[in-house]
């Protein structure tokens, strides 16, 4: 009689394949992880992306330079401002346009507010992934107030379409700075409250400490950027290394942790919330008067050439590679998005973890799927 001997004698139970996603409560949209499991332990993990592909880059090739801006909103719905910004920056770089100083400040204000909104959203969902429901509501509650500020500025709460080539679409409302400062005064003490809910909780501590450790070398190899890179001990920040807009005039620290685990990523983002508030206060103080937009022709024609610019979005280093053939439409518009790189890391980090660790690790990287697939 046939006797089957095991291929791998170390197996205790049968390995099976588990499709986590594309529809799963905690893959935030449509990430699919093909997991090979040994009981609760992950043997292999293969992330599958592309379920949310909308061919944004191709669409950009068929629109005039101004018309592309609303499309970039959809790049990352959590931080539309920075997506707008990186594209506008590329166009301005190629066309050699400089936005007026007031517009520069407004852009920084919007970027930082959006960073706060994005990190708050992340805080809520991350806590939800490790099973705490209450922080979710806390995070979303305060995000609402940021969205109110956006709404009063550009009329939209999610997809702003606010930045323009050469400035921003409209000036800040009269009382914007007062309202922003009032919000910061009210909100900054609440960061302590967020931390109190999670930081000192032994369950949370055990779930996140020494879980999903990403070494600095591996982080660089995979192209990890932003808070995730800084949590692995690399003090890299585009705002500091290749300062754009008015960042050189502003004082802020770059929070760094050396552990590289889930907890470190969480802490770095919490500190970034404080730093963003600090930047915003300085901006409110220094905001100059003057024009907010240097008007450009409706049908803007860019000289032939190409450029690559990048900036620090809440998720990391987002870049735009723009190629112009001297027409009114981009020849090629390629976005380098941080989430795409971060998803690659899962394969490496999730191995030998338990299912709950997958959730904690994936959530800690703050991956946004529309940005990944574009």
């Amino acid at each position: 009689m046939m006797r089957q001997f095991p291929a791998n004698p170390d197996l205790t139970v049968e390995e099976f394949e588990l499709n986590m996603g594309p529809q799963h409560p905690s893959t935030h949209g449509v990430l699919r992880l093909v997991l090979t499991m040994d009981g609760e332990r992950v043997v292999r993990c293969k992330p599958v992306v592309g379920y949310l592909h909308r061919s944004i880059e191709k669409m950009a090739e068929n629109r005039t330079y101004t018309q592309v801006i609303p499309v970039t909103d959809r790049l990352d719905y959590c931080t539309s401002m920075t997506s707008n910004y990186v594209y506008v920056m590329a166009v301005e770089d190629l066309a050699d346009i400089t936005a007026p100083p007031r517009a520069q400040y407004i852009r920084v204000i919007m970027s930082e507010l959006n960073r706060i909104a994005s990190h708050l959203l992340w805080y809520g969902t991350f806590a939800l992934e490790v099973g705490a429901t209450t922080p979710f509501i806390y995070g979303f509650r305060d995000r609402e107030k940021v969205l109110d500020l956006f709404e009063s500025t550009c009329g939209a709460r999610l997809l702003y379409n606010y930045l323009r080539i050469g400035g921003v679409s409209r000036d800040l409302p009269e009382d914007f700075c007062e309202r922003m400062l009032a919000f910061l005064d009210e909100w900054e003490p609440l960061i302590r409250e967020y931390e109190a809910l999670l930081d000192e909780n032994p369950i949370f501590y055990n779930r996140t400490k020494k879980v999903g450790i990403l070494s600095p070398e591996a982080a660089l190899t995979y192209g990890v950027s932003g808070p995730n890179l800084r949590a692995s001990g690399m003090a890299r920040d585009v705002r500091r290394e290749e300062p754009y807009a008015v960042y050189p005039d502003l004082e802020f620290d770059i929070p760094v942790r050396t552990e590289g685990d889930v907890f470190a990523r969480y802490r770095v983002r919490m500190e970034e919330l404080r730093q963003s508030a600090r930047i915003l206060r300085q901006c409110a103080e220094k905001l100059p008067k003057g024009p907010f937009l240097e008007p450009q022709p409706l049908r803007l024609v860019l000289p032939e050439g190409e450029t690559y610019v990048h900036l620090e979005s809440p998720r990391g280093d987002i870049g735009c590679h723009l190629v112009s053939k001297g027409t009114d439409k981009p020849y090629r518009c390629k976005f380098r998005t941080p989430s795409f790189c971060h998803i690659e890391v899962f394969e490496h980090l999730v191995r030998d973890c338990l299912i709950p660790d997958i959730m904690a690790i994936c959530a800690s990287f703050d991956v946004v799927l529309p940005e990944t697939d574009r």
């Binding site: 009689m1 006797r3 089957q4 001997f5 095991p6 004698p9 197996l11 205790t12």
Partner: protein
Amino acid sequence: MSPIGLNHFLGLGAVLFCLGAYGVLTRRNAIAVLMSLELMFNAVNLNLVAFARFLPNLDGVVLAVFVIAVAAAEAAVGVALVLSIYRNFRHIDLDQVDTMKG
């Protein structure tokens, strides 16, 4: 209906025991054999308790407690063996676990 006496319980115990024995003899799956063994344990226990109550002597119940304890130990070791067999052969068909035959 006629009153129920000791013989009724003993008869039921005998039926249960034979069903268990049939299972042990015919089942090929190790876990199924373990289950049939539990049936036989239960038949014995039933007899012990019936004796304890009809020939009034509590010792039968005490013995039944011991049997349950031993059955628990047996099941633990049995399942461990089954898992071990499964790890080595990728199946738990007892008729094919015959490498000791040489």
